[in-house]
């Protein structure tokens, strides 16, 4: 098993070095270091309140870090195209935007390409003229995913992508995610579903205290993998309490 090192632009698409995040005067993440390997499926897991959303928000540029550095390594001359599908979206009630219009504005999808884009995520074409405020939670997530995929992202963040979706559609969504990963897109998922983690993950970033009895990694990973839990820094002699990072399950 290889261990990812920092300052490896070929291997890592995003690197976090000693990142601390403060929200409302509370330190939610302190001196965390980890990497998101390129072209792989990374899960970010952790207990409630461990800072998963804060970490992802910082990477997405929605939240400032109080210290440390986040490095983005594009494989081309252009900036990274980052896609993001949040867990829950509340669209404004009095905004008359249809599904077709949302796809047009968010991803410049023309009417000719609509069918192919929506078929990819199993979104029914019969809802094309429906307002986005009238969609169910699951339909909304599929729509958001369709729009983000159509933008051809280099890296795609998904927050609990299966939380509002039925089992049949959920399997289809996982197949789509694996397919785009094979096409070279780096995927990052936030999920509490350990069955999904163990079946799909290439690596896991766990934001829980390693000494905590509730750390999900302890019960869900093999002995061999757990030995790697201590190594979170580019300095292999330093062990970080509180954050563990596992490479290549």
């Amino acid at each position: 098993m290889s261990i990812t090192r920092f300052n490896n632009k070929d291997q890592n698409i995003i690197e976090l070095e000693d990142v601390s995040i403060v929200r409302d005067s509370n330190t939610v993440i302190r001196d965390a270091s980890c990497c998101i390997p390129r072209n792989q499926l990374t899960f970010i897991v952790g207990e409630n309140g461990s800072g998963k959303t804060s970490m992802v928000s910082s990477i997405l540029g929605l939240l400032d870090i109080s210290s440390g550095r986040i490095t983005y390594n594009s494989s081309t001359d252009k900036e990274l195209v980052i896609g993001y599908v949040p867990q829950k979206v509340e669209f404004p009630e009095h905004f008359q935007l249809t599904v077709t219009e949302y796809l047009k504005y968010s991803a410049h999808i023309s009417k000719h390409d609509l069918s192919a884009v929506l078929e990819r995520v199993d979104f029914p074409e019969s809802h094309l003229k429906q307002r986005i405020t009238e969609l169910s939670g699951g339909q909304m997530q599929k729509l958001l995913l369709a729009a983000e995929l159509a933008r051809n992202p280099d890296i795609l963040f998904l927050d609990e992508p299966l939380s509002n979706i039925d089992q049949g559609s959920g399997k289809h969504i996982i197949d789509v995610i694996m397919e785009i990963k094979d096409q070279g897109v780096t995927i990052v998922l936030i999920s509490h579903d350990w069955q999904l983690v163990s079946s799909c993950a290439d690596c896991v970033i766990c934001l829980s205290c390693t000494s905590s009895p509730n750390c999900p990694c302890k019960n869900s990973l093999s002995e061999g993998n757990r030995e790697l839990l201590q190594i979170t820094s580019h300095n292999e002699h330093v062990t970080h309490e509180g954050y563990c990072y596992v490479q290549n399950l």
Binding site: D24, L60, G61, L62, E79, I82, G83, Y84, P86, V89, F91, P92, E93, H94, F95, Q96, L97, T98, E101, Y102, Y105, S106, K129, R131, I132, L144, R151
Partner: protein
């Protein structure tokens, strides 16, 4: 009918019609994004706060609308900057600005000697108050604002839908928001002479709500909003002239009648769908 056509021959009515049509287009477009963001109260807050500028202008003998515009721009910028501040609610902030502006204005009026007849027209609007200078200002505003609306259109749509997603897409979300709030403030204040401080926000809010009752896409909603705004303001102006009433209330009530009409249409459509 002949009398109505004669109206157009009067220069003051020509100025009023031109101003109303342009303001209807601008406020219709801006209101499309303001109302869904639940910022309609902001419109009221800004125009009431701008009364301070008018009071200072009348006191100092300076063009009142220039000072009112300054206050409106500052108010719009404050709202844009503090909109997402967790320590203060948005409606609370707008309430503070409204109360500060109006209270200061009323105190200035109380301390200013003499009767101020133009105050009534600033509060409630007047068909005859609009000068050709006002029309040129409104036209100039349109020349600047319309291309900017076109430029920021995609950002405005996506920041209204979900601001975080628009920022992840690297859209100029902050700039688009500042543009929206500041130019809405400027446009509202520019319409104060015709519609009055108390009621100008009606032209921003009511046509959008009416259009939402009878349309089901953004494109149709924008077209219907602007059409209703123009129709309401022209009919209101005509009523104001015929019955010698302040223009602001006449336009506002006409818009309300149109809103009720859209509500009836909406109800009939839903009844038809239910029975089918």
């Amino acid at each position: 009918m002949e009398e109505i056509f004669q109206l157009v021959s009067f220069p003051f009515m020509q100025r009023a019609f031109i101003s109303c049509i342009i303001l209807s287009v601008l406020l219709g477009l801006l209101g499309t994004f303001i109302v869904p963001r639940k910022m309609a109260f902001m419109a009221d807050g800004i125009t009431h706060a701008s009364l301070l500028g008018i009071a200072l202008g009348l006191l100092l003998g300076v063009f009142p609308l220039a000072l009112a515009l300054t206050i409106a721009i500052i108010t719009g910028a404050i709202v844009a900057a503090l909109r997402n501040n967790p320590r203060i609610t948005l409606d609370g902030l707008i309430g503070i600005l409204l109360v500060t502006g109006m209270s200061s204005a009323i105190i200035i009026f109380a301390l200013t000697p003499g009767y101020k007849p133009e105050l009534f027209s600033y509060l409630f609007g007047s068909v005859v108050a609009t000068t050709w200078v006002d029309v040129y200002v409104i036209c100039g505003l349109a020349v600047i604002t319309l291309p900017l609306i076109k430029y920021f259109w995609r950002s405005l749509v996506l920041t209204t839908v979900h601001e975080q997603l628009s920022r992840v897409m690297n859209l100029p979300a902050h700039t688009a928001n500042y543009f929206l709030y500041i130019f809405t403030a400027i446009t509202l204040v520019t319409g104060v002479k015709l519609l009055g401080i108390i009621l100008v926000s009606g032209l921003l809010i009511i046509p959008v709500l009416s259009a939402n009752l009878i349309t089901n896409s953004l494109r149709k909603a924008v077209i219907v909003t602007i059409t209703l705004a123009i129709l309401g303001s022209i009919v209101g102006l005509i009523m104001s002239f015929i019955f010698d009433l302040p223009s602001g209330p006449c336009i506002a009530l006409t818009l309300v009648v149109l809103l009720l009409g859209c509500f009836v249409v909406n109800t009939l459509i839903r009844m038809t769908k239910t029975s089918a």
